[in-house]
Structure formats: structure tokens, C-alpha cells
Amino acid sequence: MSAAQTLVDLFAGRRDAATLATGEWEGVTGVARTEAMLATLSHQLEGADLPPPVAALFADQRVAAKVAQDQALWEAEMARRALAPEGIEFVLLKGTAYAAAGLSCSSGRQIGDLDILVLASDIRRAENELLEAGWEWVKSDPYDDHYYREHMHELPPLIHKARDRMIDVHHTILPKTHRITPDALALVSDAATTASGFAILNPEDMACHCAAHMLADGDLQGGLRNLWDFNCLTRDFAAADAGFWSKLDARAGLHGLRAAVHRAARLARDLYGAELQAGWDRRDAGDFWYRHRLLARDDWGRSTNFVLQQAFYIRSHWLRMPPRMLAGHLWTKWRKR
């Protein structure tokens, strides 16, 4: 049994933490760290029967994650103070949104950058306001800068000069050149609001974005964490609203993300034991490769299965841009190596 498999078994509740041997804990801890899920696991196993050193390490992780989350929410507040006075509305995305809304997947979740979504028509103003409020450009490379502005779904990353924190300002949730074009206007106009006054995506859009981010916009790097987000989001939303799954299906159709969302649901079932409804609970031969890619780590946290990883890497680019453009992009990137 690989450590990655043991990790998802612990999350799914298929494995009792009390039965893990010393060496297994080392593998699980290492893989969880590499997947940025150690604090999430610490929450999942809070109160479980753990060896004292593991319990102590997990307690550290929970405390540290709380501090990190407060810091991430403070960044959201800083963005609000920079943008709100100018009437620029923004929607929090991903980790910060989960934390702001107090969703269950936010327990222990690592939050990297602050991701926000603004209307495409507001993006230049948003950039100016952030620059005035102390954020600076990170990428100095003219090609990368041009590439971001012409083809991506977000501005080149900005970093705050005093707090050293990154903000990604999106105007939609997939690159402009992607084969799929989600309805960005609907994402913003149908947004929900947290008790703390931040706009977040509504439940269906949040699940759509999570699946798009994991399956349509990358090479599944960090996929176990994204899949855990998806698993918790859909589980909790469905518990609160019996019509959630059918609403999700319709909304995914609107954004062109039905395939991604359905696959995410099946993978959540296969790895984390999610319960799916009729219409969702299907088999798909292609899922095999996704499961393997998600679990491609050895007990030392190293990536395994190089060929499969490369295949997913190429796939991510193939989805993101048309072939001619891809060739030009790779040529430019290669020449600059």
C-alpha cells in the first residue's frame, strides 16, 4: 500500500488511524506535506487515536494553519480597502473564499495567493488601484507580461511590497485561449455574500471553478487537495440543499464544464468515498489515468510515473491553447531557457 493511497484512505475513513505503523506515518506525513494537506489531515484526524508524536505534530499544524488563514483573510481585507472605495467589486476565489465563508474544506487548508475575480471591464482600474495601494509587478519579463495580458484569465501576479503577499486578479476562471469559455459575467452577477461581507461564488459556481481549476487548467499538480475541496464542497452543499446536484449539473452546462465537474465527482467518489446520485454515479474508463496521476507519489513524497506526468502536462497545454499558438509559445519559452 503506497503512502499516497493510505493518505486518501485516511481521508475517506476507509483506514483507522490507530492501525498505522511507524513507517506508514512517515510516508503519510511526507506525502501530505508535499501535497500541502498536512494541516487538513490534522483536522480530519483531530480526536483520533494517534501516536503522541504524531498528535503533537498535527496540533502544531492546526495552530499554524489558523494563523496562516487569519493572514490570508487579512489580505482579502487589504484588497477590499484598496478596491471598494473606487467601486470595484470583486469575488474571492479558492482558499480565501472557503475560509471567508467558513466552509468545512477550509479547516487546515493551506492558502497561497489571494485570488480574486473582477469584471473584465474593471480589470485595468483594479490593477491601477492595487498598484497605488502598494502592490508591485513580479514578472519583469516582457514576453510573460504580454502573454498574461493577451491570453490569460488573470493579470500578471502582483506582490505587495510591504507584506510580501501575492494577489492574482482574474477576470474569468480559465485562460482566454482555452477551449472552454465559462460565463464570467454570470459568475460575478450571481455571486453570494459571506457574513463578513465578502462576495464569493455561489455554491454551484464554486464547485464548477474547483473542478475547472483541477481538471481543465493544469497538470493535476496539487490535485489531491483540489479534489478534497471539491469533495467537501459538494458534500456540504448537497446536505444543505437537496436540489444541489441537479443545479450543479445545469450550471456546469452553462459554463461548458459538465465533463470536468462530472469527472471531479467520480474521482471524489473513487478516492474520498463521496456518495453520488443517479446520473452522476457512472464509470468512465479514462478516470483510471486521473486516479493514477493523483496518487503518483512514493513514500518519500517524490513524484513517480514520469511519463504519465508529462502526458498530463502536455494535455494541460493542449487544452489551454490552440496548436499553432502552443508551438509558438513553447518555441519562445525554449529559446529563453
Binding site: 511507524t22 506515518w25 512517515e26 506525513t29 506535506r33 502544531d60 499544524q61 499554524a64 494563523v67 513524497g301
Partner: protein, 288 residues
């Protein structure tokens, strides 16, 4: 991985894996006298690996990886595998440890009270701690000192001392050769040789000590003692801490308490003997 070992230093247990036997064998020799706790899972993972399979044999070069990785870190030749392991262990602690506030500082203790010495590389803090540790002080560590946020106590991290350049000869004349590791000549940090702490220091590694003196040594120049204000000590220690920001408010509280309760001095000294005398003098004054 092909070769691996476990090492416990202070509160941290490491799992070190390597593509080669040599670094693991060298680690096991240096840490043979440290407590073994085979039932305890490691907190942190270090990996020493070849970037390409053939580089295991052909001009073997050791890349440093683990739970936390520094992008673009340069590999080291296999002859410096022990240094790679040490750097890997330091990296995991610096970036991953959250239970305590980490200070990039050496420390020695006597009667349950600690002298914490913080300074840049080349300030002599490691050498001073190693020399004092050979006298009637307990060496707590030459690289990291851990502050427990709740109690304010200092905790030891007595890894094998990394002696550099002139310090090697200075120590080699004083200690049993069996306590010295192999000479690593011409590393990016100069010549390096590891010193195994005295058995008492290893045996006492879980015993906390109360911070009693904060010193900021500077090697070179005339003997001088400059009392340092709380504010300056605070700012210097935030710069010397790898996880001060990550700890948030408890880190701020711990550091504030440390600088308020502990007298701090900048010291300059032309040679080790003078440096040791300064520490003894300030210690005696602080005890009054």
C-alpha cells in the same frame, strides 16, 4: 529511497533518505550517540538525490530535497554529502517547524539558564558556543535555538557542530579526534568539520533552560560591550527568526517577552579567549 536513517535532534526527528550510502553512513557515525527512538515517526523528511540516474555514479552530485525545497539550490559533490545532509536538515527545520519560535542563534546553558548568541555567519557564535561547551557549559546548539511560546523557555537543538575554517584547528587541539567528523575541504562555506557535542549535552537535549542573556557577538576589533535596548534586540531577532511571521501573534508575544526579560548586549572581541571571557563576565554581572 535506497539508503536511509533516522536522527532525533532536540524536539525534531528527521528521516534522511539518500541515493548514496556515504552521506547516510557519515550521518550515522556523527549521530551514533544520540537517542534512538525507533517507535517514533519522523517529523521531517530530507532527501539527497541524483537529478539524473546516471549522476549517481558519473560525477555524482547531491541535490537537496525533502518536505520543503529551495528552488534553484545548487547541488554539492558527493564528497560533501554530509554538508548536503546538514543543509537539508536545517532547511526542513527553518521552513517547517512551527511548535517553537526558531532563532538562528547558538546557545549554551548553566544551572538551567541559557546564553543565546545571535549573529550573522562569521560572527563567531558557533565557535564561541562550541568552545564554551567544552568547558563547564552545556552546549544547547550552534545553529538554532528554539523558544517555547507558552513558557518562554529556550530549548536545545544540539546537532553536530559545524566548525568552519580557523575554528577547525582551534577545536581539534582541544577535543578527542573521535568526536570530529571528516574534513570537508573547499565547500561553498569554506572548510567544514563537524564536532559531536559532549555526551552530557546530548543527554540533556530535552531539558529547557531559562533565557538569561542575549548576546550579539561580532568577531574582530577591540573588546567592547554595548548594552542593547529592547527595541533593537527585538528587531534583530525578528531578522534572525525563520518562522517569526508564520507564528503570528504567539510569536510576537514570545519575542516581546524574551527581549523584555533578558538583558541584551552587543559584544566585539578580537579572539576566542576574549570572547569567552566576555561571556563569563556578562554572565557574572547578570547573576547579581
Amino acid at each position: 529511497m535506497r539508503h536511509s536513517t533516522r536522527i532525533s535532534v532536540g524536539p525534531v526527528r528527521f528521516r534522511v533518505g539518500s541515493d548514496w550510502r556515504e552521506p547516510v553512513a557519515a550521518l550515522e557515525r556523527l549521530y551514533a550517540s544520540y537517542p534512538q527512538d525507533d517507535a517514533r515517526p519522523a517529523d521531517a523528511t530530507v532527501r539527497l538525490f541524483a537529478a539524473r540516474p546516471w549522476r549517481r555514479w558519473l560525477r555524482p552530485s547531491v541535490h537537496i530535497g525533502g518536505d520543503f525545497v529551495v528552488p534553484d539550490a545548487l547541488p554539492l559533490p558527493l564528497a560533501m554529502g554530509l554538508l548536503a545532509a546538514e543543509m537539508g536538515m536545517n532547511l526542513q527545520v527553518a521552513l517547517g517547524w512551527r511548535r517553537h519560535m526558531l532563532l538562528h542563534a547558538s546557545a549554551v546553558a548553566r544551572d538551567g539558564r541559557a546564553v543565546i548568541m545571535s549573529g550573522e555567519s562569521g560572527s563567531g557564535k558557533s565557535t564561541l558556543a562550541a568552545l564554551l561547551g567544552e568547558g563547564d557549559w552545556r552546549l544547547m546548539g550552534d545553529e538554532f535555538t528554539l523558544i517555547e511560546p507558552a513558557s518562554g523557555d529556550a530549548l536545545a537543538f544540539p546537532r553536530a557542530v559545524s566548525l568552519k575554517n580557523e575554528a577547525i584547528a582551534e577545536m581539534a587541539g582541544r577535543v578527542d579526534a573521535a568526536r570530529l567528523g571528516p574534513l570537508l575541504a573547499g565547500t561553498p562555506k569554506g572548510d567544514i568539520r563537524h564536532l559531536i557535542p559532549r555526551p552530557e549535552a546530548v543527554a540533556a537535549m530535552h531539558e529547557p533552560a531559562r533565557p538569561a542573556l542575549l548576546l550579539f557577538p561580532r568577531f574582530g576589533g577591540e573588546v567592547a560591550i554595548e548594552p542593547m535596548g529592547e527595541g533593537e534586540a527585538f528587531v534583530r531577532l525578528t531578522e534572525a527568526s525563520t518562522n517569526y511571521i508564520a507564528l503570528g501573534e504567539p510569536g510576537f508575544a514570545a519575542l516581546t517577552r524574551l527581549v523584555r526579560e533578558t538583558p541584551a548586549f552587543g559584544i566585539s572581541y578580537p579572539d576566542s579567549a576574549a570572547g569567552m571571557a566576555l561571556v563569563e563576565q556578562l554572565w557574572a554581572e547578570a547573576a547579581q
